[in-house]
């Protein structure tokens, strides 16, 4: 496992705190865009993803990349996460990972 470039687990609301840093999140695809897609984060905020997309995109995608704005990620890796995903669970995980349990994460 390559730990040289760690990415912080974020949701829409937490993204703004890590501008310029490497982040990872899961978002629901709202629509494809020129050069990327528009997504909805697990806490119902808009996230703009710029970068190379997989050929066919499922309902949910994981995006790993550098945050280049309060609601934008310059994606390095985009992975299809399927059509069923529990947004609530992921959202709570983000809150724990950046809250009381951040010492367990990066």
């Amino acid at each position: 496992m390559d730990t040289s470039k760690p990415a912080v687990l974020v949701n829409g609301g937490l993204l703004r705190g890590y501008v310029g840093q490497r982040v990872r999140t899961v978002a629901q695809v709202v629509r494809p865009d020129a050069g990327g897609l528009t997504g909805r984060s697990t806490d119902e905020k808009q996230i703009d993803v710029k970068g190379k997309m997989p050929a066919a995109v499922t309902t949910f995608v994981e995006v790993i990349g550098v945050a280049d704005g309060p609601q934008s990620i310059c994606a390095e890796i985009v992975t299809n996460f399927g059509d069923t995903f529990d947004a609530n669970n992921f959202n709570q995980l983000c809150r724990h990972a950046n809250g009381d349990f951040r010492h367990l994460f990066i």
Binding site: T84, D86, N88, N89, Q92, L93, H96, D100, F101
Partner: protein, 465 residues
């Protein structure tokens, strides 16, 4: 000639009837020649059975004396037939010539260390001058899947079930007098795998209904007497003024439901009777996540299941399975009993006395399971073992008999380290002079990852508060 009869429990009576009445509390297997005077406070129905020793019939009665001590009396075959008509609920009898032994707590829930067996030579005599006092509440429960014939009939029925859902109180305006009446709907389910809505009206909605809402997640059992069956919304049960509701009654039926619910009912889905189907109710169905423990909890508590087996849910992976154990036994295709190995490749059985060359295979597996907390050996049978091992016992036998045992080894290897959710039964089993903890898998479920994550998140949150 007048006969004065008075009965004192501990001294001999001054009557022409030369018998000394013993209190039930004083009875024991070493006491000879006793006579008891008891009331029948419960009478079971006649049960017919068929086991290795043949056919038979049995019934039991619950006897209570003046001090309130109770004891169960059982009768088999000839004695059962002799005394079944004689014993009536609420009547008082003189009984002697019974045989006492330690109570079998598995079948006998009466609070007494001993139980009594009456045989054909026991004496049972009705005490004719005693008033007949029938215990106030007798139920005759209708299983939920048999409510159909009662719709719109005048007959009131009784039901018993496990509470699945309790609604909030609604206020219904009665057309007749424009009065507002409180109403609460509860959903109950029983072991016919059906569920039913019971509407509680008036004081039952606010009183006992509110109590049920508070104790909802303990899955209480309710026994309800005198319900009206109507065809409103397909089929509904409604309470009337004389309806009586008992929560978690101390009865045989209640205990039977409780055991069923603990072992399989709590993870089952029920078909709703009545056309108003209630999809997705708001309360979390506490199924795979109730009584969740880690394996370490079970193994660290060697006294679990001491008197009656206890049930838990746990998520674990099979971590080790001995490939040289006998994982299955052969059974007869007709009577399903275990076979004994015969000379050559034919098998014969204990019961049917037929010889067969092509028997059924049934799993009996013992394997070690691990989870984050620890590890434990568990037993699996039949379908549960098949789910874990991933093939039928017959197929496994074919793989094992091959000269190249690699298919067999691979099958077992593939079965390891796959997480499942298990409903297990923990009991103490006698082993030589010791009592060892034995964990048996009753139900295997696939892991619902979204649900498990939610459960784990809740657990994490609860450690913080």
């Amino acid at each position: 000639m007048l006969l004065f009869l008075y009965y004192s429990m501990s001294t001999s009576t001054h009557t022409s009837v030369p018998r000394q009445i013993y209190p039930l509390a004083r009875l024991n297997p070493y006491q000879g020649n006793w006579t008891i005077k008891v009331r029948v406070t419960s009478k079971g129905h006649m049960r017919h059975y068929n086991n290795t020793r043949g056919e038979g019939c049995v019934f039991s009665v619950e006897l209570t004396d003046d001090d309130g001590t109770q004891i169960q009396a059982i009768m088999f075959n000839a004695a059962a037939r002799k005394f079944f008509e004689l014993f009536d609920m609420g009547k008082v009898y003189y009984i002697s010539g019974g045989y006492l032994k330690r109570a079998n707590k598995q079948y006998n829930r009466v609070d007494n260390d001993y139980e009594m067996t009456l045989n054909e030579n026991s004496q049972v005599e009705e005490a004719v001058n005693e008033p007949i006092i029938i215990p106030t509440l007798t139920f005759s429960f209708v299983p939920i899947d048999q409510l159909g014939p009662y719709v719109q009939q005048k007959e009131l029925i009784d039901v018993i079930g496990v509470v699945q859902h309790v609604s909030s109180t609604m206020s219904i305006r009665r057309k007749a007098d424009n009065e507002s009446v409180p109403k609460r709907d509860i959903t109950i389910a029983d072991d016919t795998m059906k569920s039913m809505i019971v509407s509680l009206w008036g004081p039952l909605a606010t009183g006992i209904g509110s109590k049920l809402l508070d104790m909802f997640d303990a899955s209480p059992i309710v026994a309800i007497k005198s319900l009206r069956v109507s065809d409103f919304g397909g089929l509904t049960l409604s309470t009337i003024t004389k309806t009586i509701i008992e929560i978690n009654p101390n009865s045989h039926e209640s205990q039977k439901l409780k055991t069923w619910y603990a072992s399989e009912g709590s993870v089952a889905t029920f078909e709703s009777v009545g056309s108003t189907f209630r999809p997705g109710h708001t309360n979390d169905a506490p199924s795979m996540y109730s009584d969740r423990v880690g394996l370490e909890y079970i193994t660290n508590n060697p006294s679990l299941g001491e008197s009656t087996p206890v049930y838990y849910t746990t998520r674990a992976c099979m971590s080790f399975i001995k490939d040289d154990q006998a994982m299955y036994y052969r059974t007869c295709k007709t009577c399903n009993k275990k076979l004994t190995v015969n000379v050559g490749s034919a098998y014969s059985f204990l019961i049917c006395r037929k010889t067969q060359t092509d028997p059924n295979f049934r799993y009996v597996v013992s394997a070690k399971f691990s989870d984050a907390s620890g590890e434990a050996w568990m037993s699996l049978f039949a379908d549960e073992a098949e789910t874990i091992i991933g093939c039928s016992a017959a197929d496994l036998d074919i793989m094992k008999s091959k000269p190249d045992g690699s298919a067999y080894q691979t099958q077992l290897k593939k079965a390891k380290w796959v997480p499942h959710v298990f409903r297990v039964m923990v009991a103490l089993r006698a082993y030589n002079n010791d009592r060892r903890q034995r964990i048996t898998v009753k139900i295997v479920s696939l892991v619902d990852y979204a649900g498990e994550s939610k459960y784990l998140l809740n657990e994490i949150s609860s450690t913080q508060s």
